[in-house]
């Protein structure tokens, strides 16, 4: 029944993100094999799968950090056209800086640990060309507040903060420019269970308020279940099953998905 309610929203628009037949090898390791995905505006795509199944590699490619061996990737945005994998370094950097936000599992990848938290957020605005100190400060504060970061610690460096707070700084940095696409790689993995729940609440609230299009990767089905409208199950670099979240959780078709869902229950 839920499917019927969700369906009109999901099929109405053209997809924001379209990835087709994306493959990536590291030497002999086929990290990602022929993966295709579509994400519609305002929708959350969850990617699940055991460790080593190629989830992070796929996400890094969506963030244009990594170039695949094959495949195409388009975003339905006015400022870009065609296969984004073919953009030059400069165009990639500007697109990522302005339109794509990412939260890494490891905050060291996303943050300058010894700079102030507000500075980490401000950097994104600086890359996009903002040159007014007062505006940088105001916008950094807004983004941190929206990420439910304790605002009195605005200028504390991430290295002095807890893991949960570090993830909130990453999140603030990712949403500071109101990105068209937010990528999340295991944003709550490694946090205490209670902190995990709080960070997930923040993500869910942000998604509902701002209708941000998200791709969230996790090995934790609970996380995916909380957030995702649509789910893609990966194993050894391949998509074994994809569909609406409720469908996957209630009626998994593939043996591997069944195993995952039942292990969780």
């Amino acid at each position: 029944m839920t499917i019927a309610i969700e369906a009109p929203r999901l099929v109405k628009a053209a997809p924001l993100l379209t990835a087709q037949n994306v493959s990536k090898n590291y030497g002999d390791v086929q990290a990602v094999r022929n993966v295709s995905a579509e994400v519609f505006p305002g929708e959350v795509l969850g990617i699940v799968g055991e460790s080593g199944s190629g989830k992070s590699t796929f996400l890094r490619m969506l963030n244009l950090e990594e170039t695949p061996d094959a495949g195409t990737y388009t975003l339905d945005l006015p400022e870009v056209d065609g296969n984004l994998f073919e953009l030059d370094r400069f165009a990639r950097r500007m697109l990522c800086a302005k339109r794509i936000g990412i939260v890494y599992q490891n905050p060291h990848l996303g943050l300058l640990m010894k700079h102030s938290s507000s500075g980490n957020v401000a950097e994104r605005l600086l890359v996009a060309g903002e040159r007014r100190f007062s505006v940088l400060r105001e916008k950094a504060q807004e983004a941190l507040e929206a990420s439910e970061f304790p605002i009195e610690r605005l200028d504390a460096p991430p290295i002095e903060l807890s893991g949960g707070m570090q993830q909130r700084v990453q999140l603030a940095k990712a949403i500071a420019l109101e990105p068209a696409l937010l990528l999340l790689d295991e944003p709550t993995t490694g946090l205490d269970v209670s902190v995990q729940a709080l960070v997930l609440d923040t993500l869910k609230r942000l998604q509902q308020e701002r209708k941000i299009t998200m791709v969230i990767v996790s090995h934790d089905l609970g996380v995916i279940r909380t957030l995702a409208d649509r789910v893609m199950v990966m194993r050894r670099g391949e998509v074994v099953e994809a569909g609406l979240a409720d469908q996957i959780f209630q009626d998994p078709q593939h043996a591997y998905t069944q195993q995952l869902v039942h292990a969780k229950l």
Binding site: R89, F90, R93, H115, S118, G119, E123, L126, V127, F133
Partner: protein, 303 residues
Amino acid sequence: MSLSTLTKDWEPMSYGFLDASAKREIRRKMLKAVAVPGCQMPYASREVPMARGWGTGGLQVSLTLINPKTTVKVIDQGADDSVNAASIRRFLSRVSGAPTTLDTLDADLIQSRHRIPEEKLREDQVLVLQVPNPEPLRPVQPNMSIARQMHADADYGRMWLQLYEQIVRSGRVMQGASYPSMVNGRHVMTPSPIPRWDVPKLHMAKHLTILSAGREKRIHAVPPYTRVEPLVFDDVPYKVEEHGDLTCFRSGAKGFFMNEIPQDDGSSTYEISDSEYGVKTIKQAEGTETAFGESWYQDGEMS
């Protein structure tokens, strides 16, 4: 027909210590540096009879530009009479036959460490600055090959972030000397450790400035009439050192960059950093007719 009719008398052909091929290379790199203002050009820094770090980069450029008719001035922290300045001046003159001067107005070539003279330079003058650290991105990106890529992409977000962090931590921009500056709207350069006071002098200046680092083997340049804009936030104005109201205790010169001389009682007196400007001020006060060039600052304000 005799041998003497077929050949010319001997005349000195090579001067300036460096061999012709070294000078040719440096000339090429200088031309490149002028062609892409603010962009660092690598060069093969030669051995000169001076230790790296004492201005060998500036010296090699001066040796390349100099000829027996070039009038040379050399200053160190604004002073013509410091040991290092005096040694470089004598060396330049000895290996080229070039005449020397202390007066900025008379110089064709000025080699300097850490200062730009207070009198405006002209189109026919060249300023050579000695540079210890040519890479403005070094504090934010220790990997030099990535730093070069960042220059190529004009990726200066981290530089701006540095300034942001300084204001957040200290309430103001702490960067004193070597203030990172955007050249011709494209490349961020370090103007060598000149004080903030001197950076605006480079903006749309009439003279050519060549900046050369001997140890780091990099040359960059600010051609005449080129924009040099210190990185500043739109709402946090660029401030020069507050020397505008100070008076030189020797010469009475006022409104110029000063050296601070701490006193036993904890106070300070001040002495003009551009020593020859001070000398000229004294001469004039004593009644000798003295020619002053127009100065960049008037009554402590940039004009």
